[in-house]
Symmetry: C2
């Protein structure tokens, strides 16, 4: 197949991401978010929040990572961030198989390049990847606040569970980590996020 | 207001783009495409089709242009590419007013930077902008082919009208322009795009 034909086939294939639904509910629209528009939102956040990335971060790489990070969901579907360990393992296997199939549609050089970016994102192997992951954690928190609780409420998530996820944000950007902690306190104060059940310690049970 | 607060307010505001519907119908999903997922698709196309940009093209700028090019539709809505001249003029005014409001949410330095990119895209003022515009024209053509005719059929668009738009693709990338012409011929041959009515000359009536 011609090089351009393979690239166009890939462009057509990835359009399916518009049909992959996330748990996040968009407050104003009253419907679930799909992974393509979520990825767009992260790319815009990369541009707007660039100054909170550690110095030396390659923002063009971060942008490409967030744009492609969910492509594997075309085959594997989206998994809720608070899913259990067994489900997370199953998801990882399904995502790796999806990466094999989807990136192979491209000419080999490009497929490898994009696959490397995805591996790096998934393994949080660089400062670029950690900043990208931080944005990926922050965006649904903003949507939940905008929706008056969103998946926190509908899934009975408590502040300690959210704060455990905030550690990933800290890891990518100290400033955004601080912002996220304030967001959690504000959400508890506003009554849209349940406080930690007595006995649980804030931020002590990170899962991934 | 603190700098980060303004940036987060902007991030929340632009989420509304997920609710702006385009004319394009996504064949597999049987629903209209929204402008956020369309913008994501263009950003992925920028990465995958980069080699067809004229040498010297700044792909990071192109990526940011395509990510933000439709933000003005949050206020102005989407206008069908084949709308009449009067509607296009009205749209331009509405979009400029929207740009004033939306980019002003950001801290001034960032608002100006993004506004400049949007102006450049809109006026097709640089090779970067012309490549971005080419992708913006090509993507709905691919969706129409995938949907077996899509808006070409539902709006009674003929090949000569599509070819007039292809001139914008030529202008941004010769190789993608050639590809788009082949796509049009193929669509006519496949019976999913009506041929030019007798009397019309292919590509002779570019509107914008």
């Amino acid at each position: 197949m011609q090089r351009l034909d393979r690239q166009i086939r890939f462009v057509a294939e990835i359009g399916k991401l518009k049909g992959v639904l996330r748990q996040t509910v968009l407050g104003e629209l009253g419907r679930r978010e799909n992974s393509a528009e979520h990825s767009w939102h992260l790319a815009m956040m990369t541009a707007v929040l660039a100054e909170y990335a550690p110095s030396g971060t390659d923002l063009a790489r971060v942008t490409r990572m967030v744009l492609l990070h969910d492509l594997v969901e075309i085959d594997a579907g989206d998994l809720f961030a608070y899913a259990g360990a067994r489900e997370q393992e199953r998801q990882e296997l399904a995502e790796r198989a999806a990466a094999e199939r989807i990136f192979a549609i491209l000419p080999a050089d490009q497929g490898e390049e994009l696959r490397t970016l995805w591996d790096e994102f998934t393994a949080r192997r660089s400062a670029d990847a950690r900043f990208a992951r931080a944005l990926d954690r922050l965006q649904p928190m903003l949507e939940n606040v905008a929706a008056g609780g969103g998946t926190w409420r509908s899934h009975g998530i408590t502040a300690d569970q959210v704060l455990a996820k905030v550690e990933l944000i800290d890891d990518g950007s100290r400033a955004l980590g601080r912002f996220a902690r304030d967001l959690v306190s504000g959400a508890v104060a506003a009554g849209i996020l349940a406080p930690a059940p007595s006995g649980a310690q804030d931020g002590q049970t990170p899962r991934r």
